[in-house]
Amino acid sequence: MILVTVGMQLGFDRLIKSMDEIALSLDMPVIAQTGIGEFKPVNMEAHDRIAPDKFEALVKQSQLIVSHAGIGTVLTAQRFQKPILLVPRRADLGEHRNDHQLATASNLHGRPGILVAMDEAVLHERIIEGLAMEIAPSVRSESSQRLHQSIAQFIDTGRL
Protein backbone atom coordinates (compact mmCIF):
# COMPACT_ATOMS: atom_id res chain seq x y z
CA MET A 1 0.00 0.00 0.00
CA ILE A 2 1.12 3.55 -0.70
CA LEU A 3 0.18 6.17 1.87
CA VAL A 4 -0.20 9.74 0.65
CA THR A 5 -0.32 12.65 3.09
CA VAL A 6 -0.36 16.40 2.74
CA GLY A 7 -0.91 17.02 6.44
CA MET A 8 -4.21 18.05 7.91
CA GLN A 9 -4.06 21.82 7.70
CA LEU A 10 -3.77 22.77 4.06
CA GLY A 11 -4.95 21.18 0.86
CA PHE A 12 -2.40 20.24 -1.79
CA ASP A 13 -4.57 19.41 -4.81
CA ARG A 14 -1.64 19.32 -7.27
CA LEU A 15 -0.18 16.32 -5.45
CA ILE A 16 -3.51 14.64 -4.71
CA LYS A 17 -4.62 14.97 -8.36
CA SER A 18 -1.36 13.53 -9.68
CA MET A 19 -1.51 10.66 -7.20
CA ASP A 20 -5.09 9.95 -8.20
CA GLU A 21 -3.99 9.61 -11.83
CA ILE A 22 -0.97 7.50 -10.98
CA ALA A 23 -3.04 5.27 -8.64
CA LEU A 24 -4.78 3.87 -11.74
CA SER A 25 -1.58 2.36 -13.06
CA LEU A 26 -0.26 1.03 -9.75
CA ASP A 27 -1.14 -2.52 -8.80
CA MET A 28 -1.52 -1.72 -5.14
CA PRO A 29 -3.97 0.29 -3.04
CA VAL A 30 -3.32 3.96 -2.38
CA ILE A 31 -4.70 5.70 0.72
CA ALA A 32 -4.57 9.47 1.00
CA GLN A 33 -4.93 12.06 3.74
CA THR A 34 -5.96 15.03 1.63
CA GLY A 35 -6.30 17.88 4.13
CA ILE A 36 -8.85 20.48 3.12
CA GLY A 37 -8.38 20.28 -0.65
CA GLU A 38 -11.12 20.69 -3.24
CA PHE A 39 -10.23 17.85 -5.56
CA LYS A 40 -12.07 14.60 -4.81
CA PRO A 41 -10.00 11.54 -5.74
CA VAL A 42 -11.72 8.66 -7.53
CA ASN A 43 -8.95 6.10 -7.89
CA MET A 44 -7.74 6.02 -4.32
CA GLU A 45 -9.19 5.91 -0.82
CA ALA A 46 -9.23 9.47 0.50
CA HIS A 47 -9.83 11.05 3.91
CA ASP A 48 -9.67 14.73 4.87
CA ARG A 49 -7.93 13.80 8.07
CA ILE A 50 -6.77 10.58 9.65
CA ALA A 51 -6.40 10.38 13.44
CA PRO A 52 -2.74 10.14 14.57
CA ASP A 53 -2.98 6.57 15.90
CA LYS A 54 -4.73 5.34 12.74
CA PHE A 55 -2.20 7.22 10.65
CA GLU A 56 0.65 5.49 12.45
CA ALA A 57 -0.97 2.10 11.86
CA LEU A 58 -1.22 2.92 8.15
CA VAL A 59 2.42 3.98 8.06
CA LYS A 60 3.37 0.59 9.48
CA GLN A 61 1.40 -1.18 6.75
CA SER A 62 2.66 1.00 3.93
CA GLN A 63 5.42 0.22 1.49
CA LEU A 64 6.02 3.84 0.55
CA ILE A 65 4.88 7.23 1.85
CA VAL A 66 4.28 10.07 -0.59
CA SER A 67 4.12 13.36 1.24
CA HIS A 68 4.38 17.12 1.16
CA ALA A 69 7.79 18.16 2.50
CA GLY A 70 6.70 18.31 6.16
CA ILE A 71 9.29 17.39 8.77
CA GLY A 72 6.71 15.63 10.96
CA THR A 73 5.97 13.07 8.28
CA VAL A 74 9.66 12.60 7.53
CA LEU A 75 10.30 11.78 11.19
CA THR A 76 7.39 9.35 11.28
CA ALA A 77 8.65 7.61 8.15
CA GLN A 78 12.11 7.30 9.67
CA ARG A 79 10.72 5.95 12.91
CA PHE A 80 9.06 3.09 11.06
CA GLN A 81 11.87 2.74 8.53
CA LYS A 82 9.68 3.48 5.54
CA PRO A 83 10.91 5.16 2.37
CA ILE A 84 9.38 8.57 1.86
CA LEU A 85 8.96 10.57 -1.33
CA LEU A 86 8.68 14.31 -0.77
CA VAL A 87 6.87 16.74 -3.06
CA PRO A 88 7.42 20.31 -1.82
CA ARG A 89 4.56 22.82 -1.70
CA ARG A 90 5.17 25.96 -3.74
CA ALA A 91 4.28 29.45 -2.62
CA ASP A 92 3.86 30.72 -6.22
CA LEU A 93 1.02 28.19 -6.67
CA GLY A 94 -0.62 29.26 -3.40
CA GLU A 95 0.24 25.97 -1.72
CA HIS A 96 1.92 27.55 1.31
CA ARG A 97 2.84 30.93 2.74
CA ASN A 98 6.44 30.62 1.65
CA ASP A 99 8.87 28.24 -0.01
CA HIS A 100 10.33 26.62 3.09
CA GLN A 101 9.22 23.20 1.82
CA LEU A 102 11.41 23.64 -1.25
CA ALA A 103 14.32 24.33 1.10
CA THR A 104 13.44 21.34 3.29
CA ALA A 105 13.20 19.05 0.27
CA SER A 106 16.54 20.10 -1.18
CA ASN A 107 18.16 19.80 2.24
CA LEU A 108 16.87 16.28 2.76
CA HIS A 109 17.39 15.08 -0.79
CA GLY A 110 19.76 12.13 -0.91
CA ARG A 111 19.51 11.14 2.74
CA PRO A 112 18.83 7.44 3.37
CA GLY A 113 15.21 6.53 2.68
CA ILE A 114 14.30 9.98 1.32
CA LEU A 115 13.38 10.74 -2.29
CA VAL A 116 12.32 14.08 -3.72
CA ALA A 117 10.10 14.94 -6.69
CA MET A 118 10.41 18.68 -7.26
CA ASP A 119 7.38 18.55 -9.54
CA GLU A 120 4.65 16.12 -10.48
CA ALA A 121 6.19 15.31 -13.88
CA VAL A 122 8.76 13.05 -12.21
CA LEU A 123 6.39 11.72 -9.55
CA HIS A 124 5.64 8.42 -11.23
CA GLU A 125 9.26 7.43 -11.81
CA ARG A 126 10.21 8.41 -8.24
CA ILE A 127 7.38 6.22 -6.93
CA ILE A 128 8.80 3.26 -8.83
CA GLU A 129 12.22 4.04 -7.31
CA GLY A 130 10.71 4.39 -3.85
CA LEU A 131 8.91 1.06 -4.08
CA ALA A 132 12.17 -0.63 -5.01
CA MET A 133 14.04 1.03 -2.16
CA GLU A 134 15.27 -1.11 0.69
CA ILE A 135 15.97 0.55 4.00
CA ALA A 136 18.38 -1.42 6.09
CA PRO A 137 17.09 -1.59 9.65
CA SER A 138 18.75 0.57 12.28
CA VAL A 139 20.98 2.37 9.83
CA ARG A 140 21.65 5.70 11.38
CA SER A 141 22.71 8.51 9.11
CA GLU A 142 26.15 10.06 9.53
CA SER A 143 24.49 13.27 10.59
CA SER A 144 22.51 11.51 13.29
CA GLN A 145 25.59 9.66 14.56
CA ARG A 146 27.41 12.95 14.79
CA LEU A 147 24.59 14.48 16.83
CA HIS A 148 24.55 11.49 19.19
CA GLN A 149 28.32 11.73 19.72
CA SER A 150 28.12 15.44 20.28
CA ILE A 151 25.44 15.02 22.96
CA ALA A 152 27.46 12.34 24.75
CA GLN A 153 30.48 14.62 24.64
CA PHE A 154 28.46 17.47 26.12
CA ILE A 155 27.29 15.23 28.96
CA ASP A 156 30.83 14.07 29.66
CA THR A 157 32.73 17.32 29.24
CA GLY A 158 30.21 20.17 29.17
CA ARG A 159 31.38 21.08 25.66
CA LEU A 160 29.98 20.21 22.26
Binding site: I71, G72, V74, L75, Q78, R79, N98, H100, A103, T104, N107, L108, R111, I114, S141, E142, S143, S144, Q145, R146, L147, H148, Q149, S150, I151, A152, F154, I155, G158, R159, L160
Partner: protein, 131 residues
Protein backbone atom coordinates in the same frame (compact mmCIF):
# COMPACT_ATOMS: atom_id res chain seq x y z
CA UNK B 1 12.99 10.12 21.65
CA UNK B 2 15.15 9.76 18.58
CA UNK B 3 18.17 10.66 20.68
CA UNK B 4 17.61 8.06 23.34
CA UNK B 5 20.48 5.82 22.34
CA UNK B 6 22.88 8.69 23.08
CA UNK B 7 21.61 8.66 26.66
CA UNK B 8 21.55 4.92 27.31
CA UNK B 9 24.75 4.76 29.30
CA UNK B 10 23.69 7.54 31.66
CA UNK B 11 21.19 7.62 34.50
CA UNK B 12 18.41 9.42 32.63
CA UNK B 13 15.06 10.83 33.68
CA UNK B 14 12.55 11.90 31.03
CA UNK B 15 10.00 14.68 31.35
CA UNK B 16 7.32 15.19 28.71
CA UNK B 17 4.02 16.97 28.20
CA UNK B 18 2.53 13.83 26.66
CA UNK B 19 2.72 10.68 28.78
CA UNK B 20 1.41 8.57 25.90
CA UNK B 21 4.52 9.30 23.87
CA UNK B 22 6.74 8.03 26.68
CA UNK B 23 4.66 4.86 27.01
CA UNK B 24 4.66 4.39 23.24
CA UNK B 25 8.47 4.40 23.33
CA UNK B 26 8.66 2.04 26.29
CA UNK B 27 9.77 4.64 28.86
CA UNK B 28 8.48 4.07 32.36
CA UNK B 29 8.34 6.69 35.09
CA UNK B 30 8.55 9.77 32.89
CA UNK B 31 7.51 12.99 34.63
CA UNK B 32 4.64 14.99 33.21
CA UNK B 33 4.89 18.73 32.62
CA UNK B 34 1.85 20.85 31.79
CA UNK B 35 1.99 21.96 28.15
CA UNK B 36 2.23 25.71 27.67
CA UNK B 37 3.32 28.44 25.30
CA UNK B 38 3.80 32.19 25.23
CA UNK B 39 0.09 32.79 24.60
CA UNK B 40 -0.89 31.16 27.88
CA UNK B 41 0.83 33.14 30.65
CA UNK B 42 -0.86 31.53 33.65
CA UNK B 43 -0.35 28.03 32.41
CA UNK B 44 3.24 28.94 31.58
CA UNK B 45 3.80 30.17 35.12
CA UNK B 46 2.34 26.91 36.45
CA UNK B 47 4.52 24.90 34.09
CA UNK B 48 7.57 26.88 35.23
CA UNK B 49 6.84 25.95 38.84
CA UNK B 50 6.32 22.28 38.04
CA UNK B 51 9.58 22.26 36.06
CA UNK B 52 11.44 24.00 38.88
CA UNK B 53 10.10 21.54 41.44
CA UNK B 54 11.07 18.59 39.25
CA UNK B 55 14.62 19.85 38.76
CA UNK B 56 15.05 20.75 42.44
CA UNK B 57 13.86 17.29 43.40
CA UNK B 58 16.02 15.34 40.93
CA UNK B 59 19.15 17.52 41.05
CA UNK B 60 20.39 16.45 37.61
CA UNK B 61 24.00 17.05 36.52
CA UNK B 62 22.84 17.77 33.00
CA UNK B 63 19.58 19.15 31.58
CA UNK B 64 18.92 18.58 27.87
CA UNK B 65 15.84 19.98 26.19
CA UNK B 66 14.51 19.51 22.69
CA UNK B 67 11.76 22.06 23.31
CA UNK B 68 9.50 23.72 23.71
CA UNK B 69 8.57 26.15 26.53
CA UNK B 70 8.29 23.41 29.23
CA UNK B 71 11.78 22.19 28.29
CA UNK B 72 13.08 25.71 28.38
CA UNK B 73 11.82 26.08 31.96
CA UNK B 74 13.76 22.95 32.87
CA UNK B 75 16.89 24.54 31.39
CA UNK B 76 16.34 27.66 33.51
CA UNK B 77 15.79 25.56 36.61
CA UNK B 78 18.90 23.59 35.70
CA UNK B 79 20.95 26.78 35.69
CA UNK B 80 19.73 27.55 39.21
CA UNK B 81 21.11 24.30 40.58
CA UNK B 82 24.35 24.47 38.59
CA UNK B 83 23.56 21.78 36.02
CA UNK B 84 25.10 21.76 32.55
CA UNK B 85 22.37 22.75 30.13
CA UNK B 86 21.95 21.95 26.44
CA UNK B 87 19.18 23.13 24.14
CA UNK B 88 18.61 21.12 20.96
CA UNK B 89 16.30 23.02 18.65
CA UNK B 90 13.76 20.83 16.87
CA UNK B 91 14.60 19.64 13.38
CA UNK B 92 11.21 21.07 12.41
CA UNK B 93 12.68 24.56 12.72
CA UNK B 94 14.47 24.76 9.39
CA UNK B 95 13.77 28.40 8.65
CA UNK B 96 14.72 29.99 11.93
CA UNK B 97 15.35 28.97 15.50
CA UNK B 98 12.28 28.66 17.74
CA UNK B 99 11.67 31.47 20.21
CA UNK B 100 12.79 29.31 23.13
CA UNK B 101 15.80 28.31 21.04
CA UNK B 102 16.76 31.96 20.66
CA UNK B 103 16.33 32.49 24.40
CA UNK B 104 18.47 29.42 25.02
CA UNK B 105 21.38 31.05 23.22
CA UNK B 106 21.49 33.31 26.27
CA UNK B 107 20.33 30.98 29.02
CA UNK B 108 21.65 27.52 28.13
CA UNK B 109 25.36 26.63 28.19
CA UNK B 110 25.12 25.27 24.67
CA UNK B 111 22.55 25.55 21.92
CA UNK B 112 22.26 23.31 18.88
CA UNK B 113 20.36 23.79 15.66
CA UNK B 114 19.74 20.78 13.44
CA UNK B 115 20.17 22.83 10.26
CA UNK B 116 23.63 23.79 9.07
CA UNK B 117 22.50 27.04 7.45
CA UNK B 118 21.10 28.30 10.78
CA UNK B 119 24.37 27.80 12.65
CA UNK B 120 26.42 30.84 13.54
CA UNK B 121 29.24 31.92 15.85
CA UNK B 122 29.29 31.46 18.76
CA UNK B 123 25.76 30.00 18.98
CA UNK B 124 23.82 28.10 17.83
CA UNK B 125 26.13 25.30 16.75
CA UNK B 126 25.39 22.60 14.19
CA UNK B 127 26.51 19.06 15.02
CA UNK B 128 24.26 16.94 12.85
CA UNK B 129 20.53 16.19 12.98
CA UNK B 130 18.21 13.36 13.93
CA UNK B 131 17.46 12.82 10.24
Amino acid sequence: MLLRTALERYDTHFATTDGDIAVQHGIKGASLLPDCNQNRPFRSAWCGMVALWLVLRLRPDVVISTGAAPGFFCILAGRLIGAKTLWIDSVANGEKLSMCGRLSMTFAHECLTQWEHLASEPKPAYRGAVL
